[in-house]
């Protein structure tokens, strides 16, 4: 077990060291990676898990908080939530708005992204800039003028106001993602399709979209996310309870929930989070890949 290797010549993997050093190195490496990894997992999951646990506990238990896991888990809280008057309406609203705010932006941005990716036209750069610059604008800051504008148009409290604002917010991001993906489709494949007689719609349908579909999926997921989680616009532009979406409903619960209702509160939270999480987890791979490869910025 003596040190036979010159320090200057340690290979990266430490293959040739003595076994003790090897073991030490491996455990050091394990800690170096394992600790932050554990922290990552804990940090990410605690808030959600805690809320989930709370939703299963009895109210008093939550208050006393001397346990992590519920002593006698019950789904009572969820039943209460589902029975809340208007809950169904809120879910319906959220779903409706999200669906519209995903499909329409996707269509618009597929067209626009194709235009930017494949055509070289005079004002290309300026127009592209116009698409991307709005991403700088914090949505929150717009609630003041939007309220004014929408009031004048008489659109407050309609689905339309949400459709319009959500679509306008989603299109820049979606276009940006898709332009990257469309550009990565080799030009020659499209040229071959042109020679074969495909017009623009054919090319989109048979060539570009099938090849670039991970990009479409990513853009879709992000649109869904923005539609589902959006709060500020609903706060500012929708005043009728029946028209609210889930995030806002969750917000209003804040003051009406006393200690005895904590479980219900948490259950509500979990329920608002769950659908989007499910969508994400189904498509997780594509989304993560896209972000990591820098397509989403």
């Amino acid at each position: 077990m003596s040190e036979t290797l010159n320090h200057q010549e340690q290979p990266v993997l430490g293959r040739e060291r003595s076994s003790l050093q090897h073991y030490l190195r491996r455990s050091r490496r394990f800690l170096l990676i394992g600790l932050p990894l554990a922290f990552l997992v804990i940090w990410t999951s605690v808030p959600i898990l805690w809320a989930f646990m709370a939703s299963l506990k009895e109210p008093l238990e939550i208050y006393e908080s001397n346990t992590f896991f519920p002593r006698s888990p019950s789904l009572e809280a969820y039943q209460t939530v589902l029975a809340i008057d208007g809950f169904g309406k809120w879910i319906f609203n959220s779903v409706l708005v999200t669906v519209v705010a995903t499909i329409v932006p996707l269509i618009l941005s597929i067209l626009a992204a194709y235009g930017f990716a494949r055509y070289f036209f005079r004002f290309r750069h300026i127009l592209l800039l116009l698409y991307l610059v709005p991403r700088i604008i914090p949505r929150v800051s717009l609630i003041v003028p939007l309220n004014d504008l929408m009031s004048n148009l008489g659109l407050i409290n309609t689905y339309w106001v949400l459709y319009i604002t959500y679509i306008a917010s989603a299109v820049p991001l979606s276009t940006w993602i898709l332009v990257g993906f469309f550009k990565s489709v080799p030009k020659e494949i499209e040229e071959s399709a042109t020679i074969d007689g495909a017009n623009m719609w054919n090319r989109l349908r048979y060539v570009i979209l099938p090849i670039a579909w991970p990009g479409v999926v990513t853009a879709a997921v992000l649109c869904i996310r923005e539609g589902w989680n959006e709060f500020a616009f609903v706060l500012a532009l929708v005043t009728e309870t029946g028209m609210r979406t889930l995030p806002y409903a969750l917000y209003t619960l804040r003051d009406s929930m006393g200690v005895q209702n904590f479980a219900v509160y948490n259950a509500f939270t979990i329920l608002t989070v769950l659908p989007l999480l499910i969508v994400y987890l189904l498509l997780e791979r594509r989304v993560v890949e896209s972000i990591v490869t820098g397509a989403v910025k």
């Binding site: 071959s192 042109t194 020679i195 007689g197 495909a198």
Partner: protein, 358 residues
């Protein structure tokens, strides 16, 4: 002019302010295999793409089968193209790849099936019809690309450096296959490559291009034996021709070319040459040989590269490097002195500006 199947007339092309093609004129007979060859950037691919309809024409005309096709969309020109990267649809099976163009033209299904089957059997793809391009080898993908062109039954086949992505051995195989296909179908073919060996072995007619212009057109051996200018002389042939600048000198009844370093190279007959005329002496490596006797040129060997069937040698002739070949094994080593003999029947003389003499 009327028996030309494809004709280029005064074609010009610019990208923005850069002019890429300067007045191309060419006639291509029906059924011939024409190779456009030249260094990167000479415009050959651009010319091909203009023929396909993928690049707009700035001025001039392209005709296919007596019809001016300048403004005709690619699908109506009667062409089919094989790309360098094959450009197969990666998400479609081989069968779908082959049938795509027919589908776009709304051909009846049975016609499509027939055409696909036909192309597949010619190219030995019948067992691969359900595979995806990602599951195919390079050579197989090549063949699918060709099959796609076949299915269109075009008047003109266009190939854009199709063999560049293959390894050497596969390249030789595919060369033969493409040529065999051409012979079988007798289809007019325009083939672009930067590899002069492909050009020489496959072409009925070779078009040497450089910097947006056609340097010379002719049958392969014709061009090889009588290059019209320096560029063509140097471009064809590997290793390339030795080109030595010098001037003509007359001795007592004989003529010679004196190189800058004073060495005299033999000149068989003086023709119309003048004394002191500046000239470039061109001789191909295969026309220089090691001489046994002392009558040859005295040189020192500088590099000996045995390549199996022949040996490439570099020799130093008082400061000028000569390349030559030997079919016999050479036992000499760098630094050895030797003597060379030049076959003066294969001499090429060039004016240092362009043309050729003799």
């Amino acid at each position: 002019m009327n028996n030309s199947y494809v004709e280029f007339r005064e074609l010009q092309k610019s990208f923005g302010s850069t002019s890429v093609l300067h007045g191309i004129n060419l006639q291509i007979e029906e059924g011939s295999f024409v190779v456009l060859v030249g260094p990167s950037g000479c415009g050959k691919s651009t010319l091909l793409r203009m023929t396909a309809g993928l690049e707009p024409i700035n001025s001039g005309q392209i005709s296919i089968a007596d019809r001016v096709v300048n403004r005709v969309p690619p699908k109506d020109r009667g062409i089919a193209m094989v790309f360098q990267s094959y450009a197969l649809y990666p998400h479609m099976s081989v069968a779908d790849n082959l049938s795509f163009s027919l589908k776009m033209n709304k051909s009846p299904l049975d016609r499509i099936a027939e055409a696909v089957k036909g192309a597949a059997s010619i190219l030995q793809l019948s067992t691969l019809l359900q595979r995806l391009p990602g599951q195919l080898s390079g050579g197989q993908r090549q063949r699918v690309a060709m099959g796609r062109a076949l299915v269109r039954e075009p008047a003109v086949f266009l190939f854009d450096e199709p063999l560049s992505n293959l390894d050497a051995k596969l390249r030789v195989e595919m060369r033969a296959e493409i040529k065999a296909l051409h012979q079988r179908l007798s289809a007019t073919t325009i083939y672009v490559t930067h590899d002069q060996i492909e050009a020489m072995t496959m072409a009925d007619k070779v078009v040497v291009m450089n910097d947006g212009r056609i340097e010379q057109v002719g049958a392969p051996l014709e061009i090889y034996d009588r290059p019209e200018n320096l560029f063509v002389a140097e471009f064809l042939g590997s290793p390339s021709m030795n080109l030595l600048p010098g001037k003509v000198v007359f001795g007592d009844g004989t003529a010679a070319v004196e190189l800058e370093n004073g060495v005299l190279l033999p000149l068989p007959n003086k023709g119309d040459l003048q004394s002191d005329q500046k000239i470039i002496y061109g001789i191909r490596p295969e026309h220089i040989a090691l001489a046994d006797d002392e009558n040859g040129l005295a040189i020192t060997l500088t590099l000996v590269e045995p390549a199996g069937w022949e040996t490439h040698l570099h020799a130093d002739l008082a400061g000028v490097t000569l390349r030559f070949l030997s079919v016999d094994r050479v036992n000499a080593r760098p630094g050895d002195p030797a003597h060379l003999a030049i076959d003066t029947r294969q001499l090429h003389l060039f004016d240092p500006e362009t043309g050729r003499r003799i």
